[in-house]
Symmetry: D2
Subunit: 337 residues, 4 copies
């Protein structure tokens, strides 16, 4: 049994993660940490959660676990990661702290110096399908953001193949659990039900530099990226509609074949048959990402649709997928494919 701990167990990402880990046959949950709810049971925080105790960070025996999952605010996450590595645990960080490899860029986007810039170079950006080879040796994995996962999985094979040019328009729509469990007016039921709206349009959302970094890593001539996230009146799920320009020599069929061949052997990524669009119903409560391939009309353009569950493949499920590969377990163990 691999001994694990979760920091930040009482938010939506943490609750989802504890639920997955509690059913994982190769995992022993050693402790769950909560800053605000220490001393209570996780079940007191959410009625469907396992009846497990929450401890404060000061009482957390970092040396007693093989792996630590961090569902903490940025900044705090970077410091806890460093302490866990120091204590000998491997770290899967679900915050943004180790996603940007450039400390100056981190500081520009998060308005604070990075607490541990010396760790940035070894952190693996954990889009599992793209980084799998690095995971068995990794000490520190930066689990990708939900939007980046839903956008980069369909883009990656096309970028590597040089299929894209011009500008990528990523028009994304997310369920509200991505906004967290801290109460705010904007995420109240009475504000969001029967409502819908965009936010962080253009190149202003913190997930944008993370996507640009990976796109540039895959292609010396990556297209410009314009991002338009929206908030959906659903609890979980994320759908990205990608409006793409094809490079010379590319058409819909070649793009489809490229995607299909890249993902043919992947358990969690499914390229949908012609005529079928991605939907939240494809992916809710699974670790799947489904990708639809659509004619745009003009022959040099393409539309892709991708869907995933922002709490699973977009966060906690991918974290466990990374964990499985890190520890030599079957990649799908404990996850719904």
């Amino acid at each position: 049994m691999i001994r694990v701990a979760v920091f930040g167990a009482t938010g939506y990402t943490g609750l989802e993660l504890v639920g997955i880990l509690a059913r994982h046959p190769a995992v022993e949950i050693r402790f769950l940490v909560s800053g605000s709810q220490a001393g209570r049971s996780l079940r007191a925080v959410h009625p469907a959660a396992p009846d497990l105790p929450l401890v404060g960070a000061a009482e957390a025996p970092l040396g007693a676990v093989d792996a630590v999952f961090l569902c903490l605010p940025h900044g705090q996450s970077a410091r806890t990661a460093a302490a866990a590595l120091q204590a000998g645990a491997r770290v899967i960080d679900l915050s943004a702290d180790y996603r940007l490899r450039d400390a100056a860029e981190y500081e520009a986007w998060y308005q604070a110096p990075h607490p541990h810039p010396e760790l940035l170079s070894e952190a693996v950006y954990g889009l599992t399908e793209a980084c799998r080879a690095y995971l068995p040796e990794a000490r520190l994995v930066a689990n990708p953001g939900c939007y980046p996962t839903s956008i980069l999985l369909p883009l990656w094979p096309l970028l590597e193949a040089g299929a894209l040019t011009g500008t990528v328009i990523a028009d994304s729509k997310s369920g509200v659990s991505g906004a967290g469990r801290i109460p705010k007016v904007g995420t109240l039921y009475a504000e969001l039900a029967e409502n819908f709206y965009p936010y962080g349009i253009g190149q202003t959302h913190r997930h944008w530099p993370e996507m640009r970094q990976e796109m540039n890593g895959w292609s010396a001539a990556a297209p410009e990226l314009v991002f338009a996230p929206h908030l959906l009146p659903v609890t979980r799920g994320m759908l990205s509609t990608l409006h793409l320009e094809l490079a010379a020599g590319w058409d819909l069929d070649r793009a489809r074949l490229t995607l299909e061949s890249r993902y043919a052997t992947e358990a969690f990524v499914r390229v949908l048959p012609p005529g079928e669009a991605a939907s939240l119903a494809h992916v809710a409560r699974t670790n799947r990402c489904v990708i639809g391939v659509h004619a745009a009309g003009p022959a040099n353009r393409l539309v892709l649709t991708s869907a995933l569950d922002n709490l699973v493949k977009g966060a906690s499920g991918q974290a466990v997928q990374n964990f499985n590969v890190m520890f030599g377990l079957p990649e799908t163990q404990g996850l719904v494919a």
Copy 2:
């Protein structure tokens, strides 16, 4: 034009009230008060609200208005009401502060002495259909709670006629706007969507003594009242299912006739035809209360269903209905019947 002010304009009740008053042909809104948002426009608080300025309580010219509507927390409401009366304005208080006529009972349920017990005796409990005669002379109206309105309107004619005995079971279900616009975990979208649950079961909810007081006022031998409120995953609307025992000599037909004859001339109360049950769709965004009359099975029992919009007939609409009668305007003016 009658000059009015609203205190507490930025909560759900206040927003609904300002919306009604802004379209009311005989009303001039002189000022809107907000403790937390003074200096901003109401539209900055909610995108569908009128573009009207919010002022702080200290700058509110109480002497410049004919009527003041209070959408304030209890305690604070009682004090503002007293100041407004002092300044010569008439008051419609949407809080609970002047609903209980007994200061000791107020203190027991609200854990604080009543700030102005001397005003309790003159306050009119503003269930418009039942108190209409007192409104033209009233200086201070205690607008009923949403649950009491939905439960007392169907009960009132039957209680006055002596139709009921035993125990009244009021199983009520409310939309979440009744819980207010202050952010709390329990009213987040991700907590309430696809969820449903009761709370405050039995005789513990603060609306219970208010209902018992009115029931006892209408009948020397009023039945016991057991209350079970529930929270619905809807923004607005309230439905009460009343499980009743009939006194000797009563049956479904006689009860139906009693309700129909009492409400035949009322603009806002509609007794539904046989076979039709109340629904939220009957009443959303109107000042209506609809009442369904149903066979329970046993001949000495009866089931009533009643529906209203908790923000309109359950709060701000009834407040304007009371205001209309107080100021000699047509009772339906500015309201949807």
Copy 3:
């Protein structure tokens, strides 16, 4: 591996059942039957379903399976059950056809003679916790309705103990998946979202005689039952609020102890701690039933709240629970407790 078949795989109950069976480690799904969708894959019917073929009833090899699950309309289900028994399979019938033990009562409630009255006497009413002893020998199990499961589980221990008198008021609220997947105006998104309403009030719903039959079986002096079902704007989940009268000698504490001691060793029934009410969040996507025990106010009254997922413990999960016991498997296998 136990070989099973599902008839009626494309409705909500069937889809849920196939999902559970597909993950069940001791089950081999041999075939799925659909009247309307034969020849397609189940995944074409719902994007999250397993990619399994649908066959027509005429091509279904009844002799090739150990157990048959029926998610068919009443009447049709009774005939298929008889054919399956004839072919040597054991039957779990999720329709109402074998729930009422009296053929005349069936005819009165379903407006048609029972197609196989000779099988009524051997059918086991499959409320697992109450019928467990009969399941290992049973050939034919009548899986209970969703409302009866949510109401009878909390009532059963109290009825057997003689705790109840007078009238039981069962005020129940159900998610819309219980209304089926056949398109009707009333279950359209635009009709139900932000709506809520009762239907079938009193003693008119077809689940009422089923509950009365079981109540009378457990108590020679069972209370009268008045039923008030409501439709919730949620997809899955059911909550029943039970308003009860206690017999002489009973109070809340004794009732709580009776429930706790009956269910202490049950994997799927949880009596909640004092002060906690049942909610849909407790039970969604699990085979659980949770029960809350509440003071009504008057000492001779009691309120219980019970919640379950209408598609799981209220239908397909309980069907698999029954199947597990019938075939000597661990009762919780393949189910979420």
Copy 4:
């Protein structure tokens, strides 16, 4: 009083229209036509509708009204329009039948010859803000589709000014009432709640040729249009996110000024202040269209967001707005601005 009739009163568009007309101070509803519900009251079809009788088409006295509103399926609408014109009534057609000015294009998109091609040339495409001058003399108005209204209102001033080049990406999201009240599996509550998905991607949706026609009418060098509609889990409301390329000499500020100056005097179109994005909450149950103007990142690109209520400004509200101008009434009469 202007005497009007509505054909197809029982769908969502018809119900909304009757609601508006019933409150319109200058309108007398003479009759409502329903093919399927003739003989019933409209209130029997929907509990919040006015209590008005429905007649069959054969009994409809076309000669007795000044204006006819058509909420009929295509084909049927064209024929009823011709009959109404023949009888001397003016027609506002909410179907697609008179939107495309080219009979061959109609036949290609609707798979049937146009029943009355001779009327196409006189029909006015009723995007009120753009066609206002033609309405006082118009006999026949083709009310625009909901998607075209939400997309063309923000595009129109920019196209006329020559601000756009390249490709317009219109990523639109609609509430489900636009899919109509005929029951289908895809619009059931249990299918759509917590779901979201695109459909009709590219240049395949029937609203696409309508938009292209108008865009080409406004600009000799109109950009290509790629359309991606999505279905939202909300009843009403539509939001379009427009990803635009700016022509040489244009930037965000100039585009904003162009929109602001065009719409400065319009009652129903509001250009939002910098930093504010369109949302469904801005427009629900109003005849408004709000437009947000956003930096895309690259200086030669622009993002616009527009929101309207698909049943009001996207259908029945705009129909009444057109009617008001046709009959010389104040343009905002009976409508919420």
